[in-house]
Symmetry: D2
Subunit: 143 residues, 4 copies
């Protein structure tokens, strides 16, 4: 797979479910966060820069489609990539697939900014950080 | 307040936070779900019909803006209303405000369908259910 | 009720459940933490001292009995008190009751220490802190 | 390692933490549950019997020591074994170790019963189920 896409896997367990026996809507956001941490594990120079203390990675919007219900025992693969890079914000696109049949369980887009922690405002994405992010952008849809 | 808007309150606690000391992104989805259950508590005839066993309320999309970081001790108010009613889907709009200064912490729109559990497909929103939902629709923005 | 016992209430919701339709074992620990925060809300002088920055309230053991399964819609009351005060550790006893019939759902004892944050070790519970805690101790069982 | 011990691994992420930057007390119970599911994955005949529909695995007590605080980036290993088998209840002992230095982060003992779902009471652990469990018992401490 393209090195600009990171993948994480997990198995659905009882504690992920709600009373209907399906993975709860909120739990998917933890799965997505897990996928983003996996992405940063795969890009350590980027992770070091973004978590340097003076900067913070801050989510400003999340849009998530729920397509299929995942149930206990399903193995899921979370696929994460950087999908857009703007002047002051950027986007990560994430998909959660059921491993058995590659069915798309959920698709999400997270819009984030780089917060200048001292000024407490979104900073322009430029210079060193832009240089780290630009080669990772992969615009076309995954599905 | 307009009876078509339901409100729930909660206080932010240590277990809601992440390592930055802010309410975690995933946790807001539990707050929103709490708000929707409060809405159904306020509309028992609707709740009985939607949870009758043959039907299920199923989220298909959630779009959430994260505006302000909530921290431990903040009292939050979740405001929930039905904001759109289509032929086969409908929308709930929800806002989370900090009680102290009414600051908008988060705003979300949830698109849902009524699943016919036996046929396992979204059913048209008509007849009795439409009659229950229609008087509750409140289209204009809350903010 | 005795002012040395603090109570918090919550209603069981879908997101608290696991695939069996019962409140998940892990979720009870969040209910217990909610109860402890409620206790500190009721004892602000104590809360200010314990969270002053130089000290931290650190759990070292939790023993929890699961007695009855709670299900969606149950209203629960969490009752929290200080039940023992030793030289370097203390205990809080907590019970979760179903409001409808006062059935005991869960009973837990949390052993905690006061961590001296700079020295990174449990400090003796003496002087001012002992003075704040001692009048709150209520040894006999609640049930 | 002894085949009677199952191990699961996970990396601590931001969403596991609380406001102190440590893994939250409640989250450890999810880690322990993850370990138990891993144990059942390793013993499929046992899992099939225990989750056959007429029986349920029900926790009645959990005793957990919190020894070391785990932080973001720590790799943890959960070690799970059956540690005692009585007439109507049994025990699983679980330890969570930090992989880097094998430090013991947490140790827990879970007491469970086999619930006869129809009768809604704990059934004697005998015959086929006893035969499945007995060879797995490993009494001595892990640490």
């Amino acid at each position: 797979m393209d090195s600009r896409i990171s993948t994480s896997r997990l198995r659905v367990r009882g504690y992920h479910l709600d009373g209907y026996g399906h993975v709860n809507n909120a739990r998917y956001l933890e799965f997505l966060e897990e996928g983003r941490w996996g992405y940063f594990d795969d890009h350590p120079a980027l992770a070091r820069r973004l978590m340097g203390g003076d900067l913070a990675f801050v989510a400003v919007n999340l849009n998530i489609d729920y397509r299929e219900a995942a149930v206990a025992g399903d193995d899921l693969e979370i696929r994460t990539r950087l999908s857009a890079l703007g002047g002051r914000s950027a986007r990560m696109s994430q998909e959660i697939h059921r491993v058995r049949d590659d069915a798309l369980v959920s698709a999400a887009t997270l819009t984030f900014v780089m917060l200048d922690v001292v000024a407490n405002q979104a900073m322009p994405i430029e210079a060193e950080i832009r240089g780290l992010l630009e080669p990772l952008v992969m615009e076309q849809a995954l599905v």
